[in-house]
């Protein structure tokens, strides 16, 4: 049995729902750390960044699921919804820390969204994710139809790309971390452009010019 086969077999016994619980627990734990003075002397900024970073990490993971299946036959697709919804919960928490703990003023929030490009695109990413989170259930898939639902959920691509650019855009200097995430997102999106392998790779006809 191949590695892919054993993983695919094992995942049948591992349900997806603990992802929601782990996500919420992790979110609550981080909040508690901030509350109890364990996130350093500037807990608001630290919490804001941690929530944003966890969101991006999970979003990158959701983006990896399809290429993983295409290129290795490992199928983790049953975890994608739980991952996506959990990522959205972290994006929402990131947004709420920014609005309710950091800025605390509607006019300031509006001004920041309009005036600061890195916030504009971060906010755009958040808005793009809202319909996706709202339709991450079986009822919506039936309602929208498989094709319509899939079309709608293509919004994850621009949303995650905007999220990664948001991270790169807000740092000072050239730390490697945000560029690593942006590279991962671009790479995972690019993999989708490569035509899928067919079961038996067709040999190029003799004399064909390699492209």
């Amino acid at each position: 049995m191949t590695v892919a086969q054993s993983i695919n077999r094992a995942q049948r016994h591992v349900p997806a729902w603990p992802i929601y619980l782990l996500g919420l627990a992790w979110m609550g734990w981080l909040f508690w750390l901030g509350l109890s003075g364990q996130l350093g002397p500037e807990p608001i900024n630290t919490l804001e960044r941690k929530y944003g970073l966890v969101a991006l990490q999970i979003l990158v993971a959701t983006l990896a699921i399809t290429p993983l299946r295409t290129w290795t036959n490992i199928s983790l697709i049953k975890y994608r919804r739980a991952l996506g919804v959990t990522a959205f919960a972290f994006v929402l928490a990131h947004f709420l820390v920014w609005t309710l703990l950091d800025l605390r003023s509607l006019s300031r929030i509006g001004e920041e969204i309009v005036k600061r490009p890195y916030i504009t695109i971060g906010f755009a990413a958040f808005v793009l994710l809202i319909p996706l989170a709202a339709t991450s259930n079986n009822w919506s898939i039936r309602k929208l139809g498989g094709m319509g639902w899939r079309k709608l959920h293509k919004l994850t691509y621009p949303a995650i790309l905007l999220g990664a650019v948001h991270f790169v855009w807000l740092v000072k200097g050239y730390p490697w971390e945000p560029f690593l995430y942006l590279g991962a997102v671009v790479g995972l999106l690019a993999l989708r452009l490569i035509p899928k392998r067919r079961p038996q790779a067709a040999r190029p006809p003799a004399g064909a010019v390699p492209r």
Binding site: G34, L35, S36, G37, G40, P41, E42, P43, I44, N45, T46, L47, L101, D102, L103, R104, R108, E111, E112, K115, R116, P117, Y118, W169, L170, V171, K172, G173, Y174, P175, W176
Partner: protein
């Protein structure tokens, strides 16, 4: 000699050592607010100048030589070699050369200065520095007529500085002031905080403190001071001219292109601390506004 800065805060305004050591434990819990009101003198509190604790001051820093994270300096700066230390003084000075700290500072009055510290990232602290006025040090080395600027350089120790090895920004870090800014009585060469030798994350053993400018102007761990007649290059300005000007005076009306400078958050207020309005020249307008008379501060940001 230039008019000296008259400090209306006294040593009584500095939180006693036993108190700030103690406060670390108090602040760890949720009862921080109660402890806060106990510490600091009345004058300092009235001016909104209650010093941050030493722990806050030494664990939330930008010192990119040790990494870009706020806690990286506290985690990594321990290995920095700060003894022996010498400062190369050159350019348009009467007595150039390599000075030890003692040669540069002995006999000068080390003062306690409780200053607001405002980072360009819109957070702030209040720090009780110990230091000498830069003007006194400049007098010691003898500034030649014609000199108009002072340039500073931070040490580069790749073996102890992970940020330098990764090249997160170009090093050595360099900064500069106009000579009249450098000679202003508020401008310090600081050698300590809370009466302790300068902690490494804060720029041991000697650093600049220019309280009316964004924090990145207050260059750390200085190894070179050069007097010159041309405006010296400065690190952040060279990296991004549009975002970081040579002057970089604290100014709530001139935003950083990527974020607002109108308000700031004082470090140490916990998860529910609100922002406060940023003051023109970081609250030192009366003292320094005359340096920029007639200048367009939006143009010369």
């Amino acid at each position: 000699m230039a008019r000296r800065w008259t400090n209306d805060l006294t040593p009584a305004d500095v939180t006693p050592k036993a108190m700030w050591l103690n406060r670390r434990q108090l602040m760890a819990g949720l009862g921080g607010a109660a402890a806060l009101s106990m510490a600091g003198g009345r004058a300092a509190v009235a001016q909104g100048l209650e010093p941050n604790t030493l722990e806050q001051i030494t664990t939330y820093n930008n010192f990119y030589e040790f990494g870009t994270g706020k806690t990286d300096p506290a985690a990594n700066a321990g290995a920095m070699v700060t003894d022996p230390w010498s400062i190369q003084v050159d350019g348009m000075v009467d007595r150039p050369g390599s000075y030890s700290l003692a040669e540069l500072l002995d006999g000068l009055e080390v003062e306690e200065r409780i200053y607001r510290f405002r980072c360009v990232e819109a957070w702030s602290m209040v720090v009780p520095w110990n230091g000498v006025e830069l003007a006194d040090v400049l007098d010691r080395v003898g500034v030649q007529s014609g000199a108009q600027y002072v340039a500073f350089e931070t040490i580069v120790q790749p073996e102890t500085m992970p940020g330098v090895r990764r090249g997160v920004i170009p090093f050595p870090y360099v900064e500069g002031l106009r000579l009249d800014e450098a000679r202003h009585p508020l401008t310090l060469l600081a050698t300590g905080i809370y009466g302790e030798p300068m902690p490494k994350p804060n720029g041991a053993p000697i650093r600049l403190v220019v309280p009316w400018k964004y924090g990145f102007k207050s260059i750390k761990s200085i190894v070179r001071i050069t007097l010159t007649d041309t405006q010296p290059p400065t690190t952040w300005n060279a990296l991004n001219r549009r975002e970081y000007g040579f002057y970089s005076n604290v100014n709530p009306e001139v935003d950083h292109p990527r974020w607002s400078q109108a308000s700031e958050r004082r470090i140490g207020g916990g998860l529910f601390a609100s922002r406060q309005d940023t003051l023109m020249f970081n609250g030192y307008e009366d003292e320094v506004a005359s340096l920029y008379a007639g200048m367009d501060l939006r143009e010369n940001y």
